[in-house]
């Protein structure tokens, strides 16, 4: 009896826990708090936060409970991450939600989405310089794309052992867009620039919207075939949305499918942050590099917008450059908020969506390039 009781006690979390588990559980709670109380990306942070709690309940190895044990349920669910299944499904949902009209109306704004991807490659260099292997550095760099699914997809392909910290870093920074971006935006722009009003975009026809995903898919994937899983699903989702006759499929993609996959992805990514795997020096470096990457991406977009203004007759508001990071639609919203602080009658959201969605395409291309160079 005593032996059984002791055996049971030795298998409980209370016995197995060490300080690292406690730290991670607190981190999970912070995620849940930020999601619910602060409304920072709650759809992502709440499942991830709870996943962190699940992953950090100390379990006895061999019972098939840990996400890293082959026969555990969580491990099976985690295959969607490891095999790169969830990110393309999320991309399909994003495609089915996204209206590319503003981008189609003013394609020049797409360049801001491209400029913001510099963060990826500069961070890649930084990670290499700090001693990471090239595959790890590429996965870390992609955090600068500010695109969680893309970061997970690339990490799963190049450095699966880093999925936990990279995914958590990517989603954390995406959630913290309203905190990270405004100071950089204010630092790099003058008040006069922030007051610039954008011209009304032209009305885009339905035919253009239907043809766009097909052309965009072919153009981008012929150039960077490794981006095919992400961009293919993104543009499929968009085609389903725009084609109207496939509205049922579009509704499924942007509601039930993306919601289901987000729960599974968030939960398993969170659960993968087991203290013994997650709490190490590399993770801290990844978080630091992620923040740097995000900052560089934002700054690159802003500076490029200012450079474009040297040549454009109709100036663009350089704040739009910050929306080049592909945290859709958060960074566009931040642009709107920062712009409206200077002039409450200036509506930039619609315009900011153009670099924002082109940033999604840009980061997927960036991921494809890194994958094809480094695999």
């Amino acid at each position: 009896m005593d032996v059984l009781l002791m055996d049971f006690f030795h298998n409980t979390g209370y016995y197995l826990a060490d300080y690292r588990n406690i730290i991670m559980i607190i981190a999970g709670m912070v995620f849940i708090y930020l999601g619910i109380a602060k409304d920072y990306e709650p759809l992502l942070l709440v499942p991830i936060g709870f996943g962190i709690l699940m992953g950090n309940v100390p379990v006895f190895r061999g019972l098939g409970l840990s996400i890293y044990e082959d026969n555990s349920v969580l491990h099976y669910l985690y295959q969607g991450v490891i095999l790169g299944i969830y990110p393309p499904l999320i991309f399909m949902g994003i495609g089915a939600m996204t209206d590319f009209s503003t981008m189609l109306a003013r394609p020049v704004l797409m360049l801001l989405g491209a400029a913001a991807q510099m963060g990826i490659f500069i961070t890649f260099l930084g990670a290499l310089a700090l001693g990471f292997l090239s595959n790890e550095a590429a996965a870390i760099g992609i955090i600068g794309g500010a695109d969680g699914p893309t970061a997970i997809f690339l990490t799963a392909k190049l450095a699966p052992h880093l999925i936990g910290p990279i995914a958590v870093a990517a989603y954390s920074y995406m959630a913290l867009v309203p905190v990270i971006q405004p100071p950089i935006m204010k630092l790099l722009t003058s008040r006069k620039e922030r007051l610039i009003r954008m011209e009304e975009p032209r009305i885009v026809s339905k035919k253009e919207k239907i043809i766009f995903p097909i052309i965009a898919f072919l153009l981008c994937c012929f150039l960077a075939p490794a981006a095919l899983p992400l961009l293919g699903m993104l543009f499929l989702g968009n085609l389903l949305k725009e084609a109207v006759v496939t509205e049922r499929l579009a509704v499924a993609a942007r509601n039930s499918i993306i919601d289901t996959v987000t729960i599974l992805l968030g939960l398993t990514v969170g659960a993968s942050t087991q203290a013994d795997v997650f709490l190490n020096y590399d993770s801290i470096l990844i978080f630091v590099l992620g923040a740097v990457s995000f900052g560089i991406a934002t700054a690159s977009g802003l500076i490029f917008a200012k450079i474009m203004n040297l040549f454009l007759k109709n100036k663009i508001n350089p704040l739009l450059g910050a929306a080049g990071v592909s945290a859709v639609p958060d960074s566009a919203r931040v642009v709107q908020i920062v712009g409206q602080k200077e002039d409450p009658t200036n509506f930039l959201l619609m315009h900011a969506m153009a670099p924002n969605v082109s940033g999604v395409i840009g980061s997927a291309i960036g991921a494809g390039i890194l994958w094809s160079f480094i695999k």
Partner: protein, 143 residues
């Protein structure tokens, strides 16, 4: 005066406009009759109206007495109304009775300003029409 919309659409200047842009332009239009010898636009005065020829023949003359004449539907007069500083640089005289499509210059300017695509199409056509006019003059010179 109500003008036949199909007739307006057939004018080269408006032929490439989208339906919604066309509707906006039409809302700024009215047609006016002009009579032989009538001076409908005076050099040096504020350019308030942009004219499109529907019928009739017109002479446009400048300060140094240079002039050109317009005889075709779709010819345009008064582009100073959509180009700063919005003062007529020429005088317009009707050589025969005719009909002009008149667009309120300032409203048209604002419409174009807020619609870069339409602005582009419009200015491109205006440039083309002016260039054709110049080419026509040059061709005649060679005859």
């Amino acid at each position: 005066m109500v003008t036949n919309i199909e007739k307006i659409k057939s004018i080269n200047l408006f032929s490439n406009l989208k339906k919604e842009d066309m509707e906006q332009v039409i809302s700024l239009m009215e047609t006016n009759k002009v009579y032989e010898g009538e001076v409908f636009m005076q050099r040096g005065e504020p350019a308030l109206t942009f004219y499109v020829v529907l019928s009739g023949n017109y002479m446009i003359h400048f300060a140094e007495e240079q002039s050109f004449t317009l005889h075709n539907q779709g010819d345009i007069i008064g582009w100073s109304s959509i180009i700063t500083p919005f003062f007529n640089t020429a005088t317009g005289t009707a050589l025969t009775d005719g009909e002009l499509l008149c667009l309120h210059g300032k409203k048209l300017y604002n419409l174009l300003k807020n619609n870069p695509d339409m602005h582009y199409i419009f200015m491109k056509k205006i440039n083309k029409i002016i260039a054709e006019k110049m080419a026509y003059a040059k061709d005649n010179e060679k005859i």
